[in-house]
């Protein structure tokens, strides 16, 4: 397991509130900056690390300068499982969304985009045979992931301009 240094990087209060999930698992949690900017539910992929003798999870994003954040109990994180278990559990939806991503503008997709799309499909209870609805969900998942990464790279602006004009940012 990775061991991280904590001398400057982590507040003890937040470390006390931090919790651990198996490495690689996706976690859904509350984030008021997401709410302010109408991004919807926050889903992140986590890594299990050790900081100052405590096992905790850190959320990381695919983008330069994006924050690496502790997963804390007060944001009500819910374990969604790892990519393989999510695909296995929702195999029919995975296959349908896999085609939906390919038929939308995306030739390929990131695992997190698929997880967000599966989670959204379950939330609205879409039929895996409803191709056009799944295509919309796939496109929406890509947008939501992009917006999440933008927030993780621009916290001050995301608060200052909330709600951010996503169209003006090309998202």
């Amino acid at each position: 397991m990775l061991s991280l240094k904590k001398h400057f990087s982590f507040s003890q209060n937040l470390l006390d509130d931090a919790i651990a999930f198996p490495s690689g698992n996706f976690v859904e949690m509350n984030d008021w900056l997401y709410e302010l900017n109408h991004v919807g539910l926050k889903i992140v992929q986590t890594q299990l690390v050790e900081i100052g003798g405590k096992e905790v999870s850190i959320a990381t994003y695919d983008g330069d300068g994006a924050s690496q954040e502790l997963v804390i109990a007060s944001e009500n994180p819910v374990d969604l499982g790892n990519y393989e278990s999510i695909m296995l559990l929702h195999q029919e939806l995975f296959v349908a969304l896999h085609h939906a991503f390919q038929q939308s503008d995306a030739v390929h997709y990131l695992p997190i985009e698929m997880v967000v799309a599966i989670r959204s499909s379950l939330e609205v209870g879409v039929d895996p045979a409803n191709v056009s609805r799944l295509k919309d969900i796939a496109v929406d998942a890509r947008i939501r992931v992009k917006r999440g990464v933008w927030i993780a790279r621009n916290h001050v602006t995301a608060f200052e301009k909330a709600p951010v004009d996503w169209r003006a940012l090309g998202m």
Binding site: H7, F8, S9, Q47, D64, M87, R153, V156
Partner: protein, 225 residues
């Protein structure tokens, strides 16, 4: 709109040539920003509520919020740099080490996830061969390239970690390089992963060499005999 440095000390250090990586300076800021947001969440919400009640004009509201957040971010940065004065090299080194360790872990996880996805596609389409599946599925066709990119990104992170100028960073980088090799080997526990990883490793090497060649200046000098 790209992210920019708002912490004064970090902005100043980024404005002069010194070999420090601006990416790490931004990382210090955004990691700190998340903590500030969480530590002062109540104060942020009170400010938002007041602005809503008073119907503060947009520009004025944005200015207030920026001052509020930047002020707390600046104060938190100073608290953590112990002396509270100027730029902290130990803080920079710690964030750089943590950042690259997590980046390596993230890229390894990405490879693991792509392999799982490939295996799942094979399982779902068990009636057709892997070769045929690749010819009809753009995502499968592209997968070796994406795994190769993750392998290269991981190597790049290891190189950068070695360059963080401390003995411990070099030791950590060497240890991680070994662990990374062992972990990638462990991924090849089935026929599909073995073939995909072998192809990705060859592709990764080719991409690295191509990138190196592109970096090398072309020598137009005429040889003198």
């Amino acid at each position: 709109m790209e992210n920019k440095l708002v912490i004064r000390e970090l902005r100043e250090i980024a404005s002069v040539p010194n070999g420090l990586d601006e990416k790490i300076l931004l990382q210090i800021q955004e990691n700190l920003a998340v903590e500030v947001m969480r530590l002062y969440k109540h104060d942020f919400i009170v400010l938002m509520r007041r602005q809503k009640q008073e119907q503060t004009p947009t520009l004025e509201a944005e200015r207030e919020r920026n001052e509020f957040f930047s002020g707390r971010l600046q104060a938190e940065y100073r608290n953590r740099t112990l002396g509270g004065n100027g730029f902290s090299l130990p803080f920079y080194v710690e964030v750089a080490e943590n950042f690259y360790k997590l980046e390596i872990g993230r890229h390894l996880q990405t490879i693991r996830d792509y392999l799982a996805q490939g295996r799942m596609s094979m399982e779902v389409n068990h009636e057709i061969s892997a070769y045929k599946l690749r010819s009809v599925d753009a995502d499968m066709r592209d997968m070796a390239h994406r795994v190769a990119d993750s392998l290269n990104a991981m190597n790049q992170s290891l190189d950068r970690l070695s360059r963080v100028n401390t003995k411990s960073a070099v030791v950590v980088a060497d240890k991680l390089r070994k662990e990374m090799g062992d972990t990638v080997q462990k991924f090849s526990d089935d026929g599909f992963s073995q073939v995909l990883l072998a192809e990705a490793l060859t592709l990764a090497e080719a991409k690295r060499r191509l990138a190196d060649l592109e970096k090398e200046p072309i020598d137009f000098a005429v040889p003198v005999h």
